[in-house]
Symmetry: C2
Subunit: 197 residues, 2 copies
């Protein structure tokens, strides 16, 4: 409606998962309905941008050189390294409590069609980490899609050796789900991943 309003709406629309209407709603909220929130949000962005950085070892968020997970020596004892696409995936796995080893965050997946090659991802240090940190298993926790598949192939070439096993997380019916409502792709994965009972 006004140039400054439209400029803000445009920037909000760039956030992941935010469309035109949501951005409009957010801008109205910040400018008219809760003006005190605008200053607070802008301060939080600037302050976090100054302090938060990528862990130099794994790519997780941190405020020091290395994140708390990489600094935790007990994590090294497991000998396993879990590769994820995004920091949010790492956070989800941490919350589940199902894994207590180290991580490596790629910040994306290989996608030649979108111009994402190995050089765009956080891949450079991974082979060295596997060697230096005595990793015995690399767990690929990447998405169940074509690009996830391609990234898994590439990573396997990069890190597999006589002393390092590469595994990929299981695919199939999510916890609590029924066969009736699962989509065809999930059912195909589930049948392919069947195990002797």
């Amino acid at each position: 409606m006004t140039p400054a309003f439209e400029a803000l709406q445009k920037e909000l629309k760039r956030l992941p998962g935010v469309g035109f209407r949501s951005a409009e709603r957010m801008a109205i909220h910040l400018l008219l309905e809760k003006p005190e929130a605008a200053k607070r949000l802008s301060d939080a962005i600037l302050s976090a941008s100054e302090r938060v950085r990528s862990c130099s070892t794994c790519g997780n968020v941190c405020e020091e050189e290395r994140c708390s997970i990489c600094e935790d020596v007990r994590r090294e004892e497991s000998g396993s390294l879990c590769v994820v696409e995004h920091v949010s995936d790492l956070m989800a796995i941490e919350k589940s409590g199902a894994y207590r080893g180290r991580y490596h965050v790629l910040h994306g997946k290989l996608s030649p069609i979108n111009g994402v090659g190995p050089e765009s991802l956080n891949l450079s240090g991974i082979a060295k980490r596997v060697k230096d940190e005595g990793v015995t298993e690399v767990i690929l926790a990447l998405p169940n899609d074509v690009e996830g598949e391609a990234t898994c192939h590439y990573l396997t070439e990069l890190v597999e050796s006589d002393s390092v096993e590469v595994s990929r997380i299981g695919f199939g019916l999510p916890s609590g789900a029924s066969v009736l409502y699962a989509d065809s792709g999930t059912l195909k994965s589930a049948l392919d991943a069947r195990k002797r009972y």
Copy 2:
């Protein structure tokens, strides 16, 4: 994961329609994946907060004393004033092209349960506007729910007179929808709003 990260996530979560997970995803996007977007967003918020204000007449967004709709004299000729809950509702009606009169934005609806009384809404000037601007019809474009209903009652008491008609927008089946998939509330509204064919 870090204090500054969590502070940013908390502020993002306050935006309308943003949950815990979306806020986490947005914070990672701003801090690690697109750090140049963080500065741009923060600048856009500060710049818009300085420039954008609420129109002193209707409550729409504007950068002057009065918004472009209130300044448009042709809008006055229609004699109608459309009351909406939010600026986004005004924008949606404008985009539809179905209305060319003036607006009045309440910035909320009456909701005693949430502590929203008449004094929390942009209601103070509406009776004076109706008199001064020669309004002949007040169109209530408020939501089809209990709070929308209460707000309509209150507004009718406030503005109805021999020279001012109050109407409320129609409720029923949305354009392109079928009876089969409509919820019970919509079907009840649609039956109540039936017209001789």
